[in-house]
Amino acid sequence: MDCEKFDRIVLDLLYDELDELTRAAAKRHVEQCARCRAIVAGLRATREVGVLPLDAPPATLAARILEAERQATAVLPLRKRFGRAVSILASYTMRPQLAMAALLLLMIGSSLLLVKTRPGARESVQVTERGVPESEREPVAIVPLPRTDGEDSHGAPLEEKRARRERGSAASEEAREPEAEDRQPSASAGAARDTIEPSASPDGAEDAGPGAYEAAMAAYRTGRYAEATRSFDAIAAAGGSEAGSAALYAARSLRNSAGCGAAAARFDDVGSRYRGSAIGDEATWLAADCYRTLGQLERARRNYQLLLANGSYTDRARRALDTLDGRSDDATAARASERPRPAAAAAAAAKPAPAGPAAPAPTGSAD
C-alpha cells in the first residue's frame, strides 16, 4: 500500500470500517511511513479530544412524544382508516387459493364463450340443404324406362338415359329392373315421369294411369286384341314399371289379332330391348316361335340360341333347336325327295300359313 491509497482509506481505518486484509496492510504501511503515521495520529487525537458533548433533552420531551403518539394512533384520519381496511382486504384476497379459484373461473368462462359461439349446427344445416337434392336426383335418373320407336325423336334427357341403359351390362340391367318394378311410385318418380311423358306419348291420346294396365289386360283376356294392343302400346310408351310387360302384351295381342307375321318383329324388338330380363326372355322365346311358325328358321334358331344361356329356357331352347335342326334335316331330306312327293311337301310348307295354302301347289303342279 502506498500513501495515495492510504489517504483514500484513512477515514475507514479511523472509524474501523475496513476489512481485515486492508486494515493489516494499512497498519504495515503506517509503521513504515512517518507521514501517514502523523496523519492518522492527528485524526485519532482529534476524535479522542473532540468528542461532541451531548446535551440532555428536556425531561418532559419523552412524555410529550408518547402522548403525541397516543393521540395520533387513537384518531386515525378517515383516509388512513380506509387505507388500512383496503390493506386488510387485499391481504385476504391475494391468498393463493383465491387467486387459483379466480383463474379457474376465468378459464371456464372463456371456454364456455368459445363453445357457444362455434357455428357447428349451422354448418351441418347448410350441408344438408346443399346435399339432399343431389342425392335424390340419382334414383330419378334411373327410374325412367325405355320407350317404343317414338323415342328417337324425344328430348336429350331421355336419349341420355337410353344410351346409358344400352351401355350398361346385363347384370346391372337385371338388378335395376326389379328395383324399378318393386318401387312404389314416389313423388320424385312421378315428377320424373311427368317430365318425360309429354314427349314419350307419340299421339298423346291415352293416359297411362294406374288402372290402364288392368283395363288393357282385361281387354286382352276378353279377346279384344286390337283394343288391348293400343292400350298396351300406350302404357309402354308412357314408360314406368309396367312398360316392359305392356310392350310384351302388346306384341301378344298383335299376334293374336294379326298373326305372327305382324307380331314377330314386335316380339323380336321387345326381346332385344329387354335382353336378360324375364320379359326379354319371354319375348325372345315368343319371337322364335313366331319365326319358326313363319318358316324363318334362321331367325328362329338365332333367338333360340340366345336363350341357351338362360337357365329357365335352356332346356326348352335346346329341345326347340334340336327339333328345328331335325325338322330342318327332315325338310332337307324332304326337299331331296321333293320331286316324287311335291304335294306332301307343299302341304307341309303350307300348313302353318293357311292364308295362302294353295298358291304354290297349283304353281308347282302346273310346272
Binding site: 485524526l43 487525537a45 473532540g50 461532541l52 451531548l54 433533552p57 412524544i65 395520533a72
Partner: protein, 207 residues
C-alpha cells in the same frame, strides 16, 4: 418482558410496534431521544425549536410506521426522517429570516457572545484558556467548531459521530457519493483539529 425489550434490536422493536406494541415504541423513544435531540440541536442551532422538531421526528415515525421494512436499518431510517425534518425547518426559518441562525448560537451563550466564526478563528485562543477552566473551554470550542462547519460538512460529521452511521448509509441518506462523504468528514475533522490544537489535552492525545 422488559429485559427482552431491552435486549431486542431496534428493528425488532419497530416490527413489534407495527403489530401494536406501544411499549416497543416507548423503548425506541428511550434509545433515540437524546441523539435525535442533539442531532436536531446541532443542525438547527436553535434550542427553542429543537424540542418541537424532535417530537415531530417521532411523530412522523408513528405516521409512517407501516412503511418500515424489516430488512432496513432502523437508525438509518429514523435519521433520514430527522434530516428531512431539519431541512424543512431550516427552510421555514430562512423564509422568516429568523435571527438565530445569524446570531450567536444558543450553545455559545456562555462563551462570551462572540459570533461563531470569529471565535473559531480567534487569533488569540490562549487568552481564553487562561480565563476559564480547561474542560469547559474545550467543550465550548468543540461545539463552536462544529456549529461553525459548513452545512454539508456538519451534517456528515453529526451523522457519523452522533448517529454512528457508516459512511455508506450517510451517502445513501444524503444522496451523495461515499467518497464525497469521506472528503467532507476529513475537512470537518481537520477544522476541529485546528480548533483543538492549542489545548494541552490535544497535545497529550498526540503522545
Amino acid at each position: 418482558m422488559a429485559g427482552d425489550r431491552g435486549d431486542a434490536s431496534d428493528e425488532m422493536l419497530m416490527v413489534r410496534y407495527q403489530r401494536g406494541d406501544r411499549d416497543a415504541f416507548g423503548e425506541l423513544v428511550r434509545r433515540y431521544e437524546t441523539p435525535i435531540y442533539n442531532f436536531v440541536l446541532r443542525q438547527l442551532r436553535h434550542r427553542a425549536l429543537t424540542e418541537d422538531v424532535t417530537q415531530d421526528v417521532f411523530l412522523r415515525l408513528v405516521q409512517n410506521a407501516a412503511d418500515f421494512k424489516h430488512e432496513a436499518r432502523f437508525s438509518t431510517w429514523l435519521y433520514t426522517i430527522a434530516r428531512n425534518q431539519c431541512i424543512d425547518q431550516v427552510r421555514k426559518l430562512s423564509h422568516r429570516r429568523h435571527p438565530s441562525l445569524d446570531a450567536p448560537p444558543p450553545g455559545r451563550e456562555g462563551a462570551g457572545g462572540a459570533p461563531l466564526v470569529e471565535s473559531v478563528a480567534d487569533p488569540h485562543p490562549r487568552a481564553s484558556v487562561e480565563r476559564s477552566a480547561a474542560a469547559s473551554e474545550v467543550r465550548d470550542r468543540i461545539v463552536a467548531a462544529i456549529e461553525a462547519l459548513p452545512d454539508d460538512q456538519r451534517e456528515v460529521f453529526l451523522l457519523r459521530e452522533i448517529a454512528n452511521l457508516p459512511f455508506k448509509d450517510i451517502a445513501e441518506i444524503t444522496g451523495v457519493g461515499e467518497n464525497t462523504i469521506k472528503s467532507r468528514m476529513r475537512y470537518a475533522l481537520d477544522r476541529l483539529k485546528d480548533a483543538l490544537s492549542e489545548f494541552d489535552e490535544y497535545a497529550r492525545a498526540l503522545r
